[in-house]
């Protein structure tokens, strides 16, 4: 093959890629959502039973197991499932590989199980002498590498990226950093290495691991996706203005300073205060600009009556504002470390989980509608997306959820462990009830029977979606 011939076939290849338009359904996203919701319910069940903080110390193995069940089993799986569907939407390009998310999910779930068993082993609750931590490190690194590869290839093919997708890129750096540190911790705790720097990282690196995970990965990614989803669902303009770009740069800067500065400080045995405080200031700046943008989106919307998901997302944003305010107040009073658990709880349950549940309520209905009725639209009468849900029934469970979480935060702040357990019982009931609503939506239980599965439409499976492109 000569040079011209090769140039021609390259052009032909790119031409062929360009002829695959639009976005199809992500096949395994529903499985991620189901696994996530089960982890979330299980974690809250354990908390109601008095497992982990505040009935055990923050650094106790029980608390660590609980935190990872929520951060990995619920929030990360939820976010991965959502990203496999919505990164293609953000960049208007198909997902690099629509089959890979299944083996990825298997790696992540078995890795999570091994990690939880590792913590139980660490706490002496199980006496099996299996290498749980090294297995967990291997599988979780593998699973998240597959996530990064799949989403990274999708994003790479779509350059130059729109602003929401750039938030996702920073979020992916966040998960890479989190997993990198987590794997080191697991190898040290599992006795697989005794390098002094790595032991030092394990002893002092936990705040950096948590900031990279909760702040970099979960929060920055949720911010990016919400710029686009809220604009889409409220008929508001797409934001790409100075404040949004500045929010992106400050947020990315905060992650970079916290992670690089933190790791360097530990390796040189410096104090962590300086990089973490700088990162906190940058992060608060990013959150303030983001809050301003979200307020603008709600005000500039063309859709007057808001759907449930947008109204509930506002409560999640309010939780984020409260958490940021608590950070400022406790830094000023000098008792941030005392109240850090309450703030982390509010971020994880009020902001991230609240936003996640609110958006799930819309996403599950929309994807189910598209899968079931997309192929027959225009050819026969079909229900609307909103006919798949019954908002008045769901709204009380969302209300209960947010009230329970805010009560739980107050209980932690003012040190009432019994009240915290009661509040968690209520948030568990609300979570299960919301999950039941999602199940009903997926099975078309609330659609009028006559139109539920008209001829030609296909009833969606609970856990996977049929791909619409061969």
């Amino acid at each position: 093959m000569n040079a011209s011939d090769r140039a021609l076939s390259d052009a032909v290849a790119s031409e062929r890629n360009a002829t695959l338009p639009g976005v199809s359904l992500s096949r395994w996203t529903m499985s991620y959502f189901a696994a996530g919701l089960m982890s979330f319910a299980l974690a809250q069940g354990l908390m109601v039973a008095g497992y982990g903080y505040p009935h055990a110390p923050v650094e106790a193995p029980e608390t660590l197991a609980l935190v990872h069940l929520i951060a990995l089993g619920w929030l990360s799986l939820l976010l991965c499932g959502a990203l496999f569907q919505f990164v293609p939407v953000l960049v208007a390009k198909p997902l690099h590989d629509n089959a890979m998310p299944l083996p990825t999910l298997v790696c992540l779930l078995i890795g999570l199980l091994a990690l939880l068993l590792g913590f139980l082993q660490l706490g002496g609750q199980i006496s099996l002498s299996l290498p749980f931590f090294p297995v967990a490190a291997t599988l979780l690194v593998l699973g998240f590498t597959l996530v990064l590869w799949n989403l990274g290839r999708t994003l790479w093919a779509a350059r130059p990226l729109p602003l929401p997708a750039r938030f996702v890129v920073t979020g992916l750096f966040g998960i890479a950093g989190t997993v990198f540190l987590g794997a080191i911790f697991a190898l040290v705790l599992g006795g697989a290495t005794s390098h002094p720097h790595l032991i030092e990282l394990t002893a002092r690196g936990v705040p950096i691991h948590a900031i990279a995970g909760l702040g970099g990965w979960l929060t920055l990614t949720a911010m990016g996706v919400s710029y686009r989803l809220l604009a889409m669902f409220m008929l508001a303009p797409e934001l790409d203005r100075l404040s949004s770009r500045l929010a992106f740069h400050l947020g990315s800067g905060a992650l970079a300073v916290a992670f690089v500065g933190g790791v360097v400080a530990i390796c040189f045995e410096w104090r962590l205060d300086f990089p973490l405080l700088t990162a906190a200031l940058l992060g608060l700046g990013a959150l303030a600009l983001y809050g301003k943008d979200m307020l603008f989106l709600y005000r500039a919307r063309k859709r007057r009556t808001l759907e449930l998901n947008s109204r509930m997302a506002a409560f999640a944003l309010l939780s984020l504002v409260l958490a940021a305010a608590l950070v400022v107040v406790t830094i000023a009073r000098g008792d941030l470390s005392t109240h850090a658990p309450a703030i982390v709880y509010l971020v994880a349950f009020g902001w991230l989980s609240g936003l996640g549940l609110a958006k799930l309520y819309k996403i599950v209905a929309f994807l189910t509608w598209l899968e079931c009725y997309g192929p027959v639209l225009g050819k026969m009468p079909t229900p609307r997306v909103q006919d798949l849900v019954v908002e008045p029934r769901a709204v009380k469970w969302f209300g209960l959820y947010f009230l329970a979480v805010w009560a739980g935060t107050a209980a932690l702040l003012f040190d009432y462990p019994g009240v915290f357990r009661a509040a968690t019982a209520l948030s568990l009931i609300a979570t299960v009830a919301i999950a039941m609503q999602l199940f009903r939506t997926r099975r078309l239980r609330d659609v009028e029977h006559a139109t539920a599965v008209a001829a030609g439409a296909r009833r969606p499976r609970l856990l996977w979606s049929l791909s619409r492109q061969a």
């Binding site: 031409e15 199809s24 997309g374 050819k379 492109q469």
Partner: protein, 177 residues
């Protein structure tokens, strides 16, 4: 079928200068009138091109000239675009007839813009064109159009906010269910 007329395109000077003629070829293809073919002169047998142009509805006939150059005749085939479905839908650059219907879906809640377009095109005849204004790229609509065998083309207007999509009812539109 009558013998089509051919437009000549000689890419040998471009190739000898080390250039890349793909863009020029696709431009020439885009300006062809219905029924017209392309006579391409190249310094080698452009095998990769055959598949691309076959997916756009052109059959090829290649012969080696004296001196090692190649002449390839690309003739339009009547029913080819429909057979390829999804792949040809967005890459059809030939002139389209004036739209017979216009929709302004900019202020509708998603997914209503998609629902209205799919409903409207069911009433059109093959070859007819519908145009619609949207407030964002209709990423879930496009695969559905391709699957139904319709051609489409679209893009943002100069204001960067309005997306105009045109849909041409494909000859290969699937029979109504």
């Amino acid at each position: 079928m009558t013998t089509p007329s051919f437009v000549d395109l000689d890419v040998r000077p471009v190739l000898r200068a080390g250039g890349e003629p793909f863009g020029a070829i696709m431009e020439a293809i885009a300006t062809l009138k219905p029924g017209q073919g392309l006579r391409l002169l190249a310094t080698f047998k452009p095998t990769p091109l055959f598949q691309v142009l076959s997916s756009r509805g052109f059959a090829h006939e290649a012969r080696e000239l004296e001196g090692g150059d190649w002449e390839v005749l690309f003739r339009p085939t009547a029913a080819a675009p429909a057979a390829e479905g999804a792949k040809t839908a967005p890459s059809d650059d030939s002139p389209w007839p004036e739209p017979v219907q216009h929709l302004d879906n900019r202020d509708l809640d998603p997914p209503e813009p998609m629902v209205r377009i799919l409903a409207a095109i069911e009433a059109l005849k093959p070859g007819e064109v519908l145009s619609a204004l949207l407030c964002r790229e209709p990423i879930f609509l496009l695969p559905e159009l391709a699957k139904r065998g319709h051609g489409w083309r679209g893009g943002f207007e100069a204001d960067g906010k309005t997306y105009r999509v045109e849909v041409r009812i494909g000859a290969g539109a699937e029979a109504k269910a």
